[in-house]
């Protein structure tokens, strides 16, 4: 297949990727560094330090760090449990964890409104057993819950994948040589699962940093994340330059987070 002409079969994709990936990103940068008249300016990007924007950005970063940590905290033990089960049933079980992703994610997020509401499912249960009701809807905990819920599968799958691939003989050998559970975990399981953990972190961090849907649905529109600010600039205010400026800032954060995870990934595999 190393016929030279075969290469040209990739041409349609090359043209496509230049037209729909490279040029659009160039346009974001163009709008980011020009004003409405087309003159060069860094005002749009510098606008990130305005009070509203910087507050939204810091809040987004905090939310995404916490939700990524929570996802890992839930997914890791789960992967250990799943992989300790018989391999046959665990493939059906892992299917059970992917299945929710086939229901529209907006609708599933919206359903949390029903569950968390003042007179929602959770408070119904709580009052029935004489416990004080829980009011977290439209507050930060609800957004955090939505993020953990929406992005948990993206953590479970890579982590489970890497945990289940660990050679059981290694663990048995360590046991034979007298290693305790702690030692087995920190010296075998954890290091070998790190690539999965790192891809899970990337998969959860970026979408939770940039979401505007979850904060819209579960935050009642009161809590602005950086994604909400950008979305409003584009769709409501039609201020493309300002929106592109903040998107460019967001791109910086995405690249930084990718570089950090890439660096750790390389170091730990060695």
């Amino acid at each position: 297949m190393n016929n030279k002409r075969t290469r040209y079969v990739a041409a349609p994709y090359l043209i496509w990727s230049i037209g729909f990936i490279i040029i659009p990103l160039g346009l974001v940068l163009y709008y980011a560094f020009t004003n409405a008249d087309g003159a060069l300016t860094i005002d749009n990007v510098a606008d990130i330090i305005s009070y509203v924007n910087i507050k939204a950005l810091i809040l987004s970063i905090a939310f995404s760090i916490v939700s990524t940590a929570l996802c890992l905290l839930i997914a890791y033990p789960l992967s250990l449990v799943l992989s300790s089960l018989i391999s046959n049933s665990s493939s059906i079980l892992s299917l059970l964890f992917i299945l929710p992703m086939w229901m529209n994610s907006l609708l599933r997020t919206y359903a949390w409104q029903n569950i968390l509401e003042r007179k929602g499912v959770i408070n119904g249960i709580l009052t029935a057993i004489n416990l004080p009701p829980l009011y977290i809807i439209n507050k930060p905990p609800a957004i955090l819950l939505g993020m953990v819920y929406d992005f948990l599968p993206f953590m479970i799958l890579p982590v489970y994948n890497s945990v289940s691939r660990i050679d059981k003989d290694l663990i048995n050998a360590a046991k034979d040589l007298g290693a305790g559970y702690k030692e087995i975990f920190f010296r075998i399981i954890w290091p070998l699962s790190l690539p999965g953990v790192i891809s899970g972190i990337t998969m959860v961090f970026v979408p939770s940093l940039t979401t505007f849907v979850i904060s819209d649905i579960l935050g009642g529109g009161k809590i602005l994340l950086i994604g909400n600010v950008i979305e409003q600039l584009f769709t409501q205010d039609s201020d493309w330059n300002a929106g592109a400026g903040l998107s460019a800032v967001l791109m910086i954060f995405i690249v930084i987070s990718m570089l950090i995870t890439a660096k750790y990934d390389k170091e730990d595999i060695r």
Partner: protein, 278 residues
Amino acid sequence: MKKTLGSIYLTLVLIFLYAPIATLMILSFNSSKSRSHFGGFTFSWYLSLFENEEIMAAFKNTIILALLAAFIATVVGTAACTGMVAMKKRSRSIIMGITNIPMLNADIVTGVSLMLLFIAARATMGFTTVLLAHITFNIPYVILSVMPRYRELNASTYEAALDLGAKPIYAFFKVVLPDLMSSVLSGFLMSFTMSLDDFIITHFTQGPGFDTLSTKIYSEVKKGINPEMYALSTLMFLSILILLFFVNYKPWTKQTVGEIKVTTKKEVIVSSAKGGVR
């Protein structure tokens, strides 16, 4: 003891994941339109669903869009892999780098960038722009699914076919493609499911009067979602459940189709993360 604890934990996470789905299903049978009060059991939302033109149009758009985008992305993506295999390592890794951009970039940035492109091209936002956007974010899934399989492929079968007098195109369709088929199919399915569920990119590239299920739901969030939407998604969810059940329990398809279904998103996540690092 340890096993019981494990099962309890597993059950708790499953309850967390399925609670919203169960809520939606229950509400789809709720005769009262209120979300917090169950007024009694009814099938009426299922019946009126088919008369709700807006929802049915959004459903039709969603399905046609996802099928078309996945199909075009599969063709373009598989061709791209074929071409890339014949390339030198350097140009191949440059293209793979570009392919990773939409996978690793935030959806909102991808959406915004495409919106700016369509505005610059003075395109009318609507079905076509959304379709172009969906193909764009689908192609990487196809490439990341097909490329690894290409590397494992035995090149001698193709050369043997050529030696026996087959034309390259004929040899490709007769020898190479059947070997690739499972990964091509999984690329298609991944693309299809990603398109089906996409909201953010569609939101920025849609025009007035064009809705997919996601954008329709988003526009209804503030005023309350139509219970018919619950009915529709319950039906969609159940059909996928049944489909997966059959696919996984037919012994003879288990190895091919079953594997694809189960691994769709799993493969994407792992391969995308790996591809990003390289």
